[in-house]
């Protein structure tokens, strides 16, 4: 074999390895996003399942604030149907649901017999943890999206991301407190 041919083959092989490497790393990053999204879906589903139980548990006790309950029920229905409309609409509907749940819990505070009800307390704890898990999962989701979006927008991946069909992904709406990332002070004391 002649030298130029060997060089050409070597360059082609290197190029293929290079492209395959980029492709695989991008696929992996994209899978992480899907995984993070699936995690959120599981928790949203859990929240949707818990809400009817809570509504049933408190319905009998609440006299005047039936509107709060119908708000929660409507917001839940909206959130369930928004699930199919993409992350942005879904986030909006879920935030709405979170708001109505907060006002429901605020009303529960006014009913001593509800506050002492073991079933209601348990449901309240379940909903609180689910809500927290949703917001932490969103933090994680946004971190994976940021990682992926940065990867496809920087060289050399940028040159291949378009042709290979890697499109930018959307973030969940940043929650207000997400802007306050603390600075870690590492100075020795």
């Amino acid at each position: 074999m002649e030298l130029p041919l060997i060089i050409i083959i070597a360059v082609v092989v290197l190029l293929v390895v290079f492209v395959v490497g980029i492709y695989n790393s991008l696929v992996q990053k994209r899978l992480r996003i899907d995984e993070a999204l699936a995690q959120i879906e599981v928790q949203l589903k859990r929240r949707h399942d818990l809400i009817p139980n809570l509504v049933n548990a408190v319905k009998g006790y609440m006299g005047f604030e039936q509107k709060v309950l119908t708000d929660v029920t409507n917001a839940r229905a909206a959130a369930v149907s928004a699930g199919a409309q993409g992350p942005v609409q879904q986030a909006a509907a879920e935030n709405m649901l979170t708001g109505t749940l907060r006002s429901l819990f605020a009303v529960v505070e006014n009913y001593p017999e509800l506050k002492a009800n073991q079933n209601v307390l348990e449901l309240q704890e379940q909903l609180t943890t689910t809500e927290n898990q949703i917001s932490f999962s969103r933090q994680h989701y946004n971190a994976t999206v940021l990682d992926y979006n940065t990867a496809i927008a920087t060289l050399p991946n940028m040159l291949l991301a378009g042709p290979l069909g890697f499109a930018k992904r959307e973030f969940f709406d940043a929650e207000p407190e997400a802007a306050n990332v603390p600075n870690v002070d590492l100075s020795l004391s």
Binding site: T129, F136, A178, V181, V184, L188, S189
Partner: protein, 327 residues
């Protein structure tokens, strides 16, 4: 930016742990060498003793690496719990696990009214977290979340591995030094002196003996100082990481204030395990805790560092008591 600095911290921790372990091993070997030389009367004895000291220290280190967490948990009287026994605790741990993006650790409960917590294990895949029943009773949900965030930060930052392995090595140095000093002062030296009078190498022998004694006194102190300096630093780091996870500095701040205002003493903690806890469980030490020999920074300093994160003015110690609602 924040993420990157977090990865920097983890790699700095790895590097520190490695350096620390290397330094402690060198100290252990040096101590073994001089003691061996002093006791057997020639350098070859020192080489054998070096091997023995490092070998035994290493063995203890490896043993601890794999089984130390189980030992610490059983010494502390911790019992593993599941969601049916402590639903809120398990929920809060689950939340922080998601935020920290680490696997779910095993969760243990210690039946003690003093509020405290610790994490142990060799890596995030083999981690355990233990809290006292007092902690669950006295803290509200947000405060508990802050404490769990702090402990899981120790897990994520690999502090748990560091504290396990280095703790054992520092212990090995202390035991070896102690052994030698007792041996010297309580008649062990007689045998070697008898042998020296025949061989005539008395001068060098006495010098190496003195060196060994000095080293036996200093090495445990030096290794302990290094361990403690790193330990205090990691408490601050874990507090800051906890806020990064919870996005809520107030829960942790209140938890610190409440716990510092709590008069109860954790009975299951001892000198061997005190450095692992959320706050120093031995209250007498806490009083002068900015000192060199304390495992934790003073709680008021920890609270004030958290307050600088949120841009609030630092507190005096009497105001911290008000914050805890305990007065």
């Amino acid at each position: 930016m924040a993420r990157e600095s977090f990865y920097d911290q983890v790699s700095a921790n790895r590097r520190n742990s490695f350096l620390m372990a290397a330094l402690v091993i060198v100290l252990l070997g040096l101590l073994g060498f001089t003691i061996g030389w002093a006791v057997f009367g020639d350098p070859s004895g020192g080489v054998v003793a070096t091997g023995a000291a490092i070998g035994l220290g290493g063995l203890a280190g490896v043993g601890t690496y794999f089984r130390g967490d189980a030992l610490v948990l059983s010494v502390s009287g911790a019992k593993e719990v599941d969601a049916s026994q402590a639903p809120q605790l398990l929920n809060v741990v689950q939340e922080m696990v998601i935020a920290a993006n680490i696997p779910m650790p095993k969760v243990y409960l210690i039946d003690d009214t003093a509020p405290n917590a610790f994490a142990t294990g060799r890596d995030p895949q083999h981690a355990s977290i233990a809290v006292t029943t007092g902690l669950l009773e006295k803290l509200d949900r947000e405060e508990l979340q802050g404490v769990i965030g702090h402990e899981l930060s120790h897990v994520r930052n690999l502090d748990i591995r560091f504290s396990l392995v280095v703790g054992v090595m520092v212990g090995a140095i202390a035991i070896l030094a102690d052994f030698f000093l007792r041996f010297t002062f309580w008649g062990g030296g007689r045998g070697s002196r008898d042998r020296d009078s025949g061989s005539g190498g008395g001068g060098a022998q006495i010098i190496i003996f003195v060196v060994a004694i000095v080293l036996a006194i200093l090495a445990p102190l030096i290794s302990r100082f290094i361990q403690l300096a790193v330990s205090r630093q990691r408490e601050y780091l874990a507090d800051a990481s906890a806020v990064e996870l919870t996005r809520n500095p107030y829960g942790l701040e209140r938890a610190l204030a409440k716990i510092s205002g709590d008069p109860e003493v954790l009975e299951v903690a001892n000198r061997g395990t005190q450095h692992m806890y959320f706050t120093n469980p031995i209250k007498k030490l806490e009083a002068r805790s900015s000192g060199l020999m304390s495992t934790h920074p003073a709680i008021i300093d920890r609270i004030n560092r958290l307050r600088t994160l949120t841009g609030e003015p630092p507190l005096g110690s009497s105001e911290a008591a008000t914050l805890s609602g305990l007065e």
